[in-house]
């Protein structure tokens, strides 16, 4: 039996606390994993470390990372959003249809698609909180509904399953500069999406760790009943988190439509699991209440480095999925150990 509240130095302090605290960081596993992947492909391939190579895998990680960070916040808040992947296509389609078919200014079209995204996010959140159903099921419903809407509405309006011609829309130049330009560093073009990724990660991490809202995110995911009992607005917090993932979907959809100027109506399907996988590799618990925004960004980085590294190494891309599976299982096992440490009850 343990004794508490002994004023003298505690004999349980024998273990080094600094190391203990580093090990307890949720992002530790993903950072170590990223270092291993980075070292591996740097040695195996020549292109991986070249400026062009770096720009390629950073770009691949960036749009995934923006979503993974938002999804991580939602997962820490104890919910899932399966509609996040298809949301990147829906928002791009709304923007493209308004700008190319109705001749709206690009910025106005972007504002409209942002409002659309926030409305869908709020609906997701409201349905989950109102019905008490698992968000997995509710957002699976929105996912399928959006998928159908994307194809159906696009075909109705354009007669095809894609919308193109963004380049000729009003305001394309300025919007493209903000969301889809490149920055030249050492003779190599880096996509501006990388900057957005860093920005989103820093902002999310600040909110999560340094603000009252961040405290509430952990609380509503960790123990909603306790959170409610001490006056945390659980419903509002969760609805805002769903709106955040939807807004992140809008940002990625915007980056894509402005860069490629064309959007396929079936885009984005299947990505939702990549976001969740990146967040889990980054240390998020599937059960909520624990995780890290930086970890999710690093999880996305592992994704991008591996996907492009396999290309640089001229391997079959089939191996990517095997790698992903192993990585995911490893991450979940490590996370599980940490959660047990944290949740352990000593009577």
């Amino acid at each position: 039996m343990t004794t508490v509240a002994v004023p003298k130095p505690d004999e349980r302090l024998a273990r080094p606390r600094v190391l203990d605290r580093i090990v307890a960081r949720p992002e530790l596993g993903s950072v170590l994993g990223a270092l291993v992947v980075f070292a591996f492909f740097s040695l195996v391939t020549d292109q991986f470390l070249s400026p062009m190579g770096v720009a390629t895998w950073l770009d691949d990680s960036a749009t995934l990372g923006i979503m993974a960070v938002a999804v991580a916040l939602l997962m820490i808040g104890g919910e899932f959003d399966l509609s996040a992947g298809v949301m990147t296509a829906s928002t791009a389609l709304v923007t493209a249809i308004l700008a190319t078919q109705l001749g709206w200014n690009t910025w106005l079209a972007l504002l409209a698609s942002l409002l659309f995204a926030l409305a869908v996010g709020a609906l997701n959140g409201w349905l989950v909180m109102r019905t008490g159903l698992p968000s997995f099921i509710v957002t699976l419903g929105t996912f399928l509904a959006l998928q159908g809407l994307n194809l159906g509405v696009t075909r109705l309006i354009t007669g095809t399953v894609q919308v193109s011609g963004m380049r000729s829309a009003d305001g394309y130049a300025s919007a493209g500069f903000v969301f889809a330009s490149t920055v030249n560093i050492a003779g190599t073009s880096f996509q501006i999406s990388i900057l957005w990724w860093v920005l989103v990660t820093v902002l999310a991490s600040w909110v999560l760790l340094r603000t009252r809202f961040g405290n509430w995110i952990f609380a509503v995911g960790g123990a909603p009943a306790s959170a409610r009992a001490v006056g945390v607005p659980v419903v509002r917090t969760k609805v805002l988190l769903f709106m955040t993932t939807a807004a992140a979907g809008w940002l990625v959809g915007t980056i894509n439509i402005l860069r490629f100027t064309t959007v396929q109506a079936n885009q984005g399907i299947g990505l939702e699991f990549q976001f969740i996988i990146a967040a889990v590799i980054g240390g998020c618990l599937l059960t909520g209440g624990y995780g890290s925004a930086i970890g999710a960004a690093v999880g996305a980085l592992i994704f991008g480095m591996t996907r492009q590294g396999i290309v640089f190494a001229r391997w079959e891309s089939d191996w990517f999925m095997l790698f992903l599976g192993v990585m995911l299982l490893g991450a979940v096992l490590i996370n599980n150990t940490f959660r047990r440490r944290a949740e352990r009850v000593r009577r």
Partner: protein, 279 residues
């Protein structure tokens, strides 16, 4: 005599046709511990839910500092300085001690959307508030889940005291704890009392209630078996009444009889005794 912090007079509550509480009277004074004792289903939970504002009474009177009240939410009760620490609802296990301590009342620094948690102040206040209660935690950064059950209760109690509670309602704080841990929690109950709070301690363990209690309300099947000062009742009498007095004696008798005679030769003889005890 001074006005009690809390007082219930002939209070009653029905859930549909079920009478959960009927004609119960008790007082809670500042700097005193009022223990509510009773077996499962005695009405303890109903009584504290009324006191905490989670439910409303149907009959009788509920007075806070002499003024009749009827709370519509726990928040209203909290605003009157009545804080409830539920056994299972106390904390978020995965969050650190200081984040738990300030959850829902976070101190902030900065302006508008850019205002951040005042982490340093929060940690300092948490540490000093816990220390004032005599709780020395190893580290306020550690997750509450790594604390023992008793320590978690203490954090929740310290939180209620810090945020200005005048009355502290503790729902079975020692129920799931080992002997030493329960002792530690009772020590903090006494601390809160010494700081001038009125404490309502709900328990079904007279051995935990008697050492810290000043007054004892005994409940059985929604009715009061009596409201005693400590000077009026002994631990043995308290235990006897709580366990159901005569019933317990009958049960004891039955158990003893069965122990002495391992294989009853004539089961017919044993049957009436067992029936009597069950009733």
């Amino acid at each position: 005599m001074t006005t009690p912090l809390l007082e219930v007079r002939e209070i009653g509550k029905r859930y549909g046709s079920v009478v959960a509480l009927d004609g119960v009277s008790a007082v809670v004074n500042a700097g005193e511990v009022t223990c509510v004792l009773g077996d499962n289903g005695a009405g303890k939970s109903t009584l504290i839910k009324i006191l905490a504002g989670a439910h409303q009474h149907d009959s009788g009177e509920y007075l806070v500092e002499g003024e009749p009240v009827r709370f519509h939410s726990p928040r209203e009760a909290l605003d009157r300085g009545i804080a409830t620490v539920y056994q299972d609802l106390a904390v978020v296990p995965l969050m650190s001690v200081w984040r738990n301590f300030f959850l829902g009342s976070e101190p902030r620094i900065g302006w508008g959307p850019f205002s951040a948690l005042d982490r340093r102040r929060a940690k300092e206040i948490t540490r000093s508030a816990l220390a004032e209660m005599g709780i020395n935690l190893r580290d306020v950064e550690q997750p509450v889940g790594t604390l023992s059950g008793g320590e978690r209760q203490c954090v929740a109690i310290a939180r209620a005291v810090h945020f200005g509670a005048k009355v502290l309602i503790l729902d079975e704080p020692t129920a799931a704890l080992g002997v030493k841990q329960a002792g530690v929690v009772l020590k903090y109950v006494a601390q809160a009392r010494d700081r001038g709070l009125g404490v309502v301690l709900i328990t079904h363990n007279p051995h935990h209630a008697y050492p810290v209690g000043d007054r004892f309300l005994l409940l059985k099947r929604g009715r009061s078996l009596g409201f005693h000062r400590k000077s009026e009742i002994s631990l043995a009498e308290l235990t006897r009444q709580m366990a159901g007095g005569a019933e317990l004696e009958a049960l004891e008798h039955e158990l003893r009889a069965e122990h002495v005679v391992p294989e009853p030769a004539e089961p017919v003889d044993g049957a009436p005794t067992a029936e009597g005890a069950q009733r």
